[in-house]
Amino acid sequence: MSEPDKKPLARSPIAPALPVRVVDGWEVSAARSAAPLTLTDVTPLAKVSVKASARGPAETTIGVRFGRARRIDAGDLVVGSGPGEWLVIGGIGSAPAMTEHWRATTAGAGELVTVLDLTHGRAMLRLTGAHAADALSTICAIDLRDSVTPDGTAFRSSMAALVTDVVRDDVGGVRSYLLHCERSSGQYLFDAVLQAGAAFGVEVCGLTT
């Protein structure tokens, strides 16, 4: 075997806005925007799925219930993405460590727990700005008012006719949503959100680390 010396380059399914740079092996956009509404491709973030039974012992250990998202000490975001199903979002390249961590954490739960790295299986976007909900309400039927889906809410629904996971994850008091879907439809969702945000002056902003 003569293994090629070229280091593998990881790519998001979403074509990066120019200019482009490489961060921890991922090709990302270096574009910057100070617009009031920004859309960022955050696909390179580590995404680890944890599965157990709904309302079972592992859920107690994990401490986040379905429909909520909570940031833990490591800075990772633990999302209760389904009954007995969590998605943990962490920094670029941290998936192996996160996988180990969650396997270890849930090992003693006394039930089947499956921890799987889904970093490569999902595309993820972040839409940030005061009008983020207004933009999304053109493509999503869920009630996005604070009284119904406040910061820290997680849900799965249809967005622009695509099954999408949504996490309300405000940034510094500014309304912000993480949206993720199957990797193969990443560009589609990105384009749909961009179009939805056009009336509110959305701009693409590269991933900052």
Partner: protein, 924 residues
């Protein structure tokens, strides 16, 4: 263009005299002001005729001066059927009359009027019957007489948008009651969406006198100041659906052509006001015959004088107010006939426009006749919520039966009853407050004021002006036995036209009631089918949201001339220019294909083997770690549903693959059996289809190529056919390799973490350049598998094909305790008369019978070709077919009928594989 009918400035006028606008009317230059409707601008310049009618091509003028004015429908550029009495004038509009040729003034089809006495109800049903052969010719002429505007093949689709809204209270109707209800609801803490069909809030206050205008200003100011109220004007609630899902058509919206707003409201307040009802008498369609509200709109909103000399037939205060407006506008009043005092209206006459009106006591010359005979309650939204409106004969109109409405539906304003402006506002305020809390507390019903019941005079006139249906047509229908409201409406088409019955429905029901000697209540109710107002297909469609899926290698495919194949949501390379060459490359060297869309499910847990045993027809208990097995799934009716290979990666860890098109269905299928039949099994299912980029490397040189990019031991002894390994590929960790052979060649299917897909793909092409590696597409893969005789579920099988008809005899294990579809397969196995999947070789090897060619014997269909191609490898045609059992023995010659009618012969082959029947190539 002069404007002889334009009045001096009116207190409530909505036109901006500082902004003149030029436009075209039937090719001539015309002008108006900003704020004018197309109709008001033309009426100001003295125009009286705006269209020709549907059937008789009679000239028609203004009736209501609002959206549903049946005579004011025009073509604007490439847009047909524009409501000219509503659509605001825009500079440069190209406005043309519809239904008129060669011109509005001289329409040759007006000849239909001469034969009108023969063209009555059911005319077409009674004629052109024989000789039957002439009917198609009649029909094509008849079609040319159809009404309406013209479509344009080049019309742009335009930008339409949608929006979801969640509100506590949606108020449909922005008149005084709607505004008051919205304000009260907002005061009670509710979020409110206030929807008004006109360009401004206010309803009838807009064309009222000084007192009304003062109230209007006050209410508008308060609404504008209320943060919790969002106002949509030029917008109509077109439908109320289950659980208060309300569709609002926003006809004017910033940045887009139109927008469909879909609102989920806790409460719905229906406050649309009332629609003025026309009166039926001979000559009631002459230009110059108007409703009182039409007259008031023209004078007060648009400063247009509706005529020079007016007669009036009135039965209510709206009529009084219209007469007063006419006086103020300087219109000569020829006569006011007050129906409340028993005076009757007999008929009106004129040619091309009103000339004279005959009342029961006199005949007067006039070019304008105002009628004010009563109201229609637009109960549409309440009806759509299940309400069945009831007729109150004393008030001569229908009312919603509020008590029977489901929770969260309220009615107010004229729809709910009568009263002074203050009383109506008071009722609406109470309703708004109740709606905010979804209670019915504190709402006292409004009284119903008496109103004379006036529907028609002593002469026959038009009941439906859109459809040219007369009262005589209704009489004919009833006399012929179409004596129920629905039958008579269907027979005459009354209420079926573009105004959707808003003006016609009550008159129609009242007359049928009278003709049949039944009461109105007994005859029927007003039915309203959504949409309440006409709505463009563009708005309903909105933007196109059709998700598409691409593999990580798509940039390479696009750059290398791949012809796209739309496969469900996936866009895949069908080929890169020469599929036959792609096939030869695989058979002789090595090729790579992007098979990312293959469905992949990660299965983990101690009970996975049980699950596999249940869902597949074959056995899974003894699959070793590192091994891969083919499996087929059937549904409980025994019909083949999907197939694929599943590999065992670790003790309790499997990776299942499915067909590309079946990926979503199989995932759901697996979850269904786990969740509903076997919740006790410990299995976790995670779809990982796009976690991996999947590349099949196929061909005799595939091992040599893979060896250059991986540290996995590829020696045949260690990594044999139907084995799976994990390792590093092209520097990418956690890659899965399985050795399988859909193409019939030595091949490795690589599943690498998705983000590295393009890297691995390009690495393979670079590293294999000297081996002649070539990308191949779906078409080449189809040929390769067909040469090898591998079936495609859904192509070589259909919705009735059970396991034994799919060549799966070897896989089906009926001795298993249970699996999905088992009983039917047991019974199928007991019989031997089912169709078989066979290979066919045409006697003339150069003839390729197209797929779906039928196999016939003795005049009967005995099978069909399911797959066929010219084989680049064998240089002859290869086919699979579904064939009757009795003909399925190898060597049997069958007749295949080609689409061109020729019949050719083909022989059933021994086994399905034409290339490498012994399977040596994939096992090397």
């Amino acid at each position: 263009m002069t404007a002889p009918m334009r009045l001096p400035s009116q207190p409530g006028e909505v036109i901006d005299r500082t902004v003149p606008l030029m436009f075209g009317w039937n090719g001539r230059a015309a002008s108006g002001y900003a704020g004018d409707t197309i109709t008001s601008a033309l009426a100001a310049s003295g125009e009286r005729v705006f269209s020709r009618s549907f059937k008789y091509h009679r000239p028609r003028g203004i009736l209501t001066a609002a959206f549903d004015d049946p005579g004011c429908t025009v073509q604007v550029g490439d847009e047909p059927n524009v409501r000219a009495a509503h659509r605001r004038l825009a500079a440069g509009m190209d406005v043309r009359a519809e239904n008129a040729w060669p011109s509005l003034k001289y329409d040759v089809k007006a000849a239909n009027q001469l034969v009108g006495r023969f063209l009555g109800a059911g005319f077409y049903y009674k004629t052109f019957i024989s000789p039957q052969r002439l009917w198609p010719a009649y029909e094509s002429v008849l079609r040319r007489f159809s009404a309406g505007g013209s479509m344009s093949v080049d019309a742009r689709r335009g930008d339409y948008d949608k929006r979801y809204v969640h509100v506590d209270v949606l108020v449909a109707g922005g008149g005084p009651a709607g505004m008051a209800a919205a304000l009260a609801a907002a005061d009670a803490g509710a979020s409110v969406l206030l929807v008004e069909q006109e360009y401004d809030l206010g309803g009838h206050l807009r064309y009222g006198g000084a007192a009304e205008l003062a109230t209007l200003r006050e209410l508008r100011d308060r609404v504008a100041a209320a943060d919790a109220i969002e106002v949509l004007t030029d917008s109509v609630a077109i439908g109320r659906y289950e659980d208060n899902w309300i569709a609002v058509m926003q006809r004017t919206a910033a940045g887009v052509a139109e927008r469909l707003v879909k609102a989920r409201a806790r409460s719905l307040v229906v406050a649309p006001g009332l629609i003025e009802r026309p009166y039926v008498f001979a000559g009631n369609d002459l230009p110059g015959v108007m409703l009182s509200t039409g007259v008031r709109r023209l004078i007060n909103l648009y400063a247009v004088k509706p005529g020079l000399r007016a007669a009036a037939f009135i039965a209510n205060e709206a009529g009084d107010a219209a007469v007063e407006d006419l006086r103020r506008a300087g219109v000569q009043i020829a006569h006011v006939a007050d129906a409340r005092r028993g005076t009757g209206l007999v008929h009106a006459t004129g040619r091309g426009g009103l000339r004279s009106v005959r009342f029961s006591d006199r005949t007067v010359e006039a070019d304008l006749l105002v009628t004010a005979v009563g109201w229609t309650a637009p109960t549409a939204l309440a009806s759509m919520a299940g309400d069945r409106p009831e007729f109150d004969p004393g008030a001569a109109r229908f009312f919603p039966t509020v008590a029977e409405l489901p929770g969260g539906i309220y009615c107010t304003g004229g729809l709910a009853g009568d009263g002074s402006l203050d009383e109506l506002v008071g009722h609406a305020t109470a309703v708004g407050r109740a709606a905010a809390t979804r209670s019915r507390v504190g709402v006292a019903p409004l009284p119903h004021d008496p109103h004379p019941a006036l529907f028609h005079g002593p002469t026959d006139g038009f009941v439906d002006l859109c459809e040219d249906v007369t009262s005589k047509d209704l009489a004919t229908a009833v006399a012929e036995g179409y004596d129920g409201a629905e039958l008579a409406k269907r027979y005459t088409t009354s209420t079926m036209g573009p105004t959707q019955g808003k003006l016609e429905v009550v008159n129609t029901i009242a007359m049928i009631a009278e003709l049949t000697g039944r009461g109105i209540a007994e005859t029927g109710t007003t039915t309203w089918r959504p949409p309440y107002a006409p709505v463009t297909l563009g708005a309903l469609a909105g933007r196109t949201f059709e998700p598409v899926r691409y593999s990580p290698m798509q940039p390479w495919h696009s750059a290398h001339g791949a012809k796209p194949l739309v496969a469900g949501a996936w866009i895949r390379p069908d080929h890169y220019g020469d599929p036959a060459a792609e096939v030869r490359a695989v058979r002789s060297g090595v090729g790579i294909i992007d098979v990312t869309p293959i469905g992949k499910l990660d299965l983990q847990g101690p009970d996975v083997a049980k699950l596999l045993n249940l869902l597949y027809v074959n056995k899974w208990s003894k699959l070793g770690i590192g091994r891969v097995r083919y499996g087929a799934m059937c549904a409980d009716d025994g019909v083949v549903f999907d197939d694929g290979v599943t590999g065992r990666l670790a003790e309790d860890h499997y990776l299942m693959s499915t067909t590309s098109s079946g990926a979503a269905a199989v995932w759901e299928w697996v979850e269904n059996w786990l969740q509903t039949e076997h919740p006790e099994w410990a299995v976790h299912v995670t779809p990982v289809t796009t976690s991996y980029a999947s590349i099949n490397v196929a061909g005799p040189k595939s091992r040599e190529l893979i060896a250059r990019v991986t540290d996995v031991d590829l020696s045949p002894d260690d990594f044999g056919y139907m084995h799976v390994r994990t390792g590093r590929v092209a520097g990418v960790e956690d890659s899965v390799l399985w050795r399988i052979g859909f193409t019939g060649e030595l091949s490795y299917e690589l599943h690498v973490p998705g983000a590295f897909g393009l890297h691995v793909w390009e690495t393979l092409l670079r590293e294999g350049a000297d081996l002649g590696v070539r990308a191949f597409g779906v078409e080449a893969q189809r040929i390769l598998r067909l040469e090898k005789g591998h079936l495609i579920v859904g192509q070589d099988t259909d919705g009735l094909t059970r396991g034994f008809s799919a060549g799966l005899d070897w896989a089906i294990k009926l001795d298993k305790d249970d699996f999905v579809g088992k009983p039917e397969l047991v019974w199928q196995g007991e019989r031997s008369d089912h169709p078989r999947l066979v290979g066919l070789a045409t006697v003339d090897p150069q003839l390729v019978p197209p797929e779906a060619s039928q196999i016939v014997a003795g005049g009967e269909i005995v099978g069909r070709v399911t797959s066929s191609r010219m084989s680049p490898t064998l240089r002859r045609s290869v086919c699979l077919a579904q064939l009757a059992d009795r003909l399925a023995r190898p060597g049997t010659t069958v007749n295949v009928r080609l689409p061109d009618g020729r019949t050719i012969q083909a022989r059933v082959t021994d086994g399905l594989a034409a290339v490498d029947p012994d399977g040596k190539r994939m096992r090397v």
